[in-house]
């Protein structure tokens, strides 16, 4: 037992890795789907154990208040998505879009992806983190292209190329950080270890760190989906299997965001370095407003919500760019709520697309009439993502907008403009989807509502009540972020 607690980090990593191997050889898609769920659940439990007791930071692994947020969120959404995925692929098999052979690959890749993301979150080494994120990216690329349709391959290709360039830029940034660190902390592993880097950040050459941050921001920002680096994101979301869309939006973006945040913390430790805040706020605002405008012309339901993810990433990056306890808190909360809500939306959307046999918004009407539970779930989800109370995102947007307005009113104006534009666009599309004379198939669809409801319930509770422990924790993290 003690061994487990001491090596819990390893458990979080080894469970998905082992599962990936097992699932790759396991025959029978039902079994492998269950195995996927079981592995995800086990990882979640291990992560919760981590949450209960942080191990001391070692040379390779680091679990602190910041990344435990991400780890728990990651494993939780990973678990719920695996539950959703089990229902989803059932339908895909029936309609013949996927074959059992592909499913084996799919489940293995799912666990590889989880492994990559967990690794990126827990390692105490910027080089390894880079490797892990690359691994997760490659796994998702393969998943996006799994349908083998022309569109899916195209999307995967676009994703692959843009992500590769992003990864290359991030690596260059990582090397530069090392170069900046080496004269101070000495060469070797020391120069890439988080805890060491953060402790000595003040002594690093500020100019080099500035250049490094630009590369890192652009590199990992590509994965976050910041405009104008976002181009892969909508297509990858739209053409891959919906569970992957949920994971992409709910998790992978967060992991990349985590990397950006880590480096921002590093920058914050050095007073002479270029201010990361203005860069992040600017890019955040551009992302928000651009994505808001893009929402209006969307014809594909998954692409619509992919752009909404971009929009939210813009908000979150803006929040962290603003800094300060309130805005950082808002950013963290927004990120958590967005992960939960957006994956819930993708769960619903996946079933909607299966029920109607199409992803075209124009062909989906009157969902609340034809599929009431599904339609209303979508309504609640979209209202939540659009920032309506009493759902969680409202809380974070409330904090963000009001604190921004009090600090720098001129920034709040474009922020509110973007938020409103995005809201109006989402509402416009939502009303078309949910109301009016229903079109298309009316047959009920076998949907698993449990993951969706679980996410939305969490979001709804967070909208009216945040437990003091959570708040203290988030506040501490917000303090860490400076």
């Amino acid at each position: 037992m003690n061994w487990f607690l001491a090596h819990d980090v390893l458990l979080v990593l080894s469970l998905p890795a082992l599962a990936a191997v097992v699932l790759a050889v396991l025959p029978g898609y039902r079994l492998s789907a269950r195995g996927n769920v079981a592995a995800s659940l086990a990882t979640l439990l291990a992560a919760l154990a981590l949450f209960v007791r942080h191990p001391a930071p070692g040379p390779y692994f680091l679990v602190d208040d910041l990344n435990i947020v991400f780890i728990v969120l990651n494993t939780f959404v990973g678990f719920t998505t695996s539950v959703f995925s089990a229902t989803y692929i059932d339908h895909e098999l029936q309609t013949g879009r996927l074959t059992p052979a592909y499913l084996r690959f799919y489940h293995a890749m799912y666990q590889v992806m989880m492994f990559g993301m967990n690794l990126a979150l827990v390692v105490n080494n910027i080089g390894l983190m880079w490797v892990a994120i690359e691994l997760a990216t490659l796994a998702t690329v393969l998943m996006v292209g799994i349908y083998r349709t022309h569109e899916a391959l195209e999307a995967a290709w676009k994703y692959f190329i843009l992500a590769s360039v992003g990864i290359a830029l991030a690596l260059f940034g990582t090397i530069l950080v090392y170069l900046a660190a080496a004269p101070v902390v000495g060469t070797g592993l020391q120069g890439m270890t988080w805890t060491v880097l953060v402790a000595h950040a003040g002594a690093f050459e500020p100019g080099l760190l500035s250049v490094a941050f630009i590369f890192l921001f652009l590199g990992y920002g590509t994965k976050v989906g910041l405009v104008p680096l976002h181009a892969w994101l909508p297509d990858a979301h739209a053409e891959g299997p919906t569970p992957i869309s949920a994971v992409l939006s709910g998790l992978l973006l967060n992991v990349a965001l985590y990397a950006v945040l880590r480096f921002k913390m590093l920058m914050a430790g050095n007073p002479h370095v270029i201010a990361a805040g203005p860069l992040m706020t600017t890019i955040g605002l551009v992302t928000l407003i651009f994505a808001a405008f893009m929402l209006y012309r969307r014809r594909d339901i998954k692409r619509l919500f992919a752009y909404s993810s971009i929009e939210h990433m813009g908000i979150i990056v803006f929040a962290f760019g603003m800094g300060g306890p309130l805005a950082n808190f808002a950013g963290l909360l927004q990120m958590t709520m967005h992960s939960l809500t957006k994956s819930a939306i993708f769960f619903a959307v996946g079933h909607v697309a299966q029920a109607k046999g199409t992803q075209k918004i124009a062909d989906i009407r009157g969902l609340t009439q034809s599929h009431p539970p599904l339609g209303w779930t979508l309504v609640v989800g979209v209202l939540a993502i659009a920032g309506m109370p009493p759902l969680g995102i409202f809380t974070s947007e409330f904090l963000l907008v009001s604190s921004t307005f009090a600090r720098s009113p001129l920034l709040a104006v474009p922020l509110v403009f973007g938020l409103f534009l995005a809201f109006a666009a989402l509402l416009l599309r939502l009303q078309g989807l949910a109301f009016g004379e229903p079109t298309g198939r009316m047959t009920p669809v076998g949907a698993s509502y449990v993951p969706t409801f679980a996410h939305l319930a969490l979001v709804a509770v967070a909208g009216v009540y945040l437990s003091p422990e959570l708040v203290t924790w988030f506040q501490h993290v917000a303090g860490m972020l400076g």
Binding site: G127, L128, W130, V131, E134, L138, H150, E151, L153, E154, W157, K158, F160, I161, S164, V165, I167, A168, L169, L171, F172, I175, L176, Y178, L179, A180, A182, P183, G186, T187, G188, L189, G191, M192, E205, P206, G207, L208, S210, V211, D235, R298, R299, D300, R303, Q359, K360
Partner: protein, 220 residues
């Protein structure tokens, strides 16, 4: 550190930039591939020299990868692809060679302006190497965005990545260099296989408006 060792490192890194500029100048696919082979060879030499300078034997592995994989396997594979796809005739660049070259020289200037000022604290070798590496990275990106052809874009990406390896090798005592170069090799292999598998004949430009009209339903 001054002395012949530094001069050779400097020379090799500078040559890499020069070869990058030469690649920028090529408008024939075969010539581009050949130049790239040279690029990889120079990289391999540079990394090997760094291994000797820093007394870091593991860097020899990286150098070997560069020589074998990048200067050997990949160019050959790309040659075959070019032949297979029948696109050996020409590369059309987006803007004229002259403008591209000017932009390239500007980028080299930019990278020196950025780097040399900020790396004063770093060891001299690393300092020069990093500036050259940044030039190579930027030039690689420039190649990517000025070529319409898929293969030449891959070549651009690979030269970009060579710049990264140069920087990594130049950073004294940096861990994980080998792992990173391996990882990148995998990545490149993926890309090359992708180009081959998906029969991306002419360009990465298949994701264009007309194609979407046909397939996506986003524009209907």
């Amino acid at each position: 550190m001054h002395g012949i060792g530094f001069d050779i490192a400097h020379l090799l890194a500078g040559s890499l930039v020069l070869v990058s500029l030469t690649m920028l100048y090529q408008d024939r696919l075969y010539a581009l591939l050949n130049t790239y082979t040279l690029h990889a060879v120079v990289l391999g030499l540079a990394v090997a020299w760094q291994a000797r300078l820093q007394d870091a034997p593991h860097l020899y592995i990286t150098a070997a990868i560069a020589l074998l994989f990048k200067a050997g396997i990949i160019p050959i594979a790309l040659h075959r692809i070019v032949v297979r796809l029948g696109i050996h005739r020409a590369i059309e660049t987006v803007s004229g060679i002259g403008t591209t070259m000017l932009a390239g020289i500007g980028l080299v200037g930019l990278s020196f302006a950025v780097m040399l000022r900020v790396t004063e604290g770093a060891a001299l070798v690393a300092r020069e190497d990093v500036a050259f590496a940044l030039s190579v990275v930027l030039l690689g990106l420039l190649i990517m965005v000025t070529r319409r052809n898929a293969v030449s874009q891959v070549v651009g990406f690979m030269s970009l990545e060579n710049g990264l390896i140069l920087a990594a090798a130049g950073a004294q005592g940096m861990p994980l260099v080998v792992e990173i170069s391996v990882a990148f090799s995998v990545l490149i292999a993926f890309i090359v296989i992708g180009v081959f598998l998906f029969r991306i004949r002419e360009r990465f430009d298949t994701v264009d408006v007309r194609a979407l009209d046909r397939f996506r339903g986003e524009r209907r």
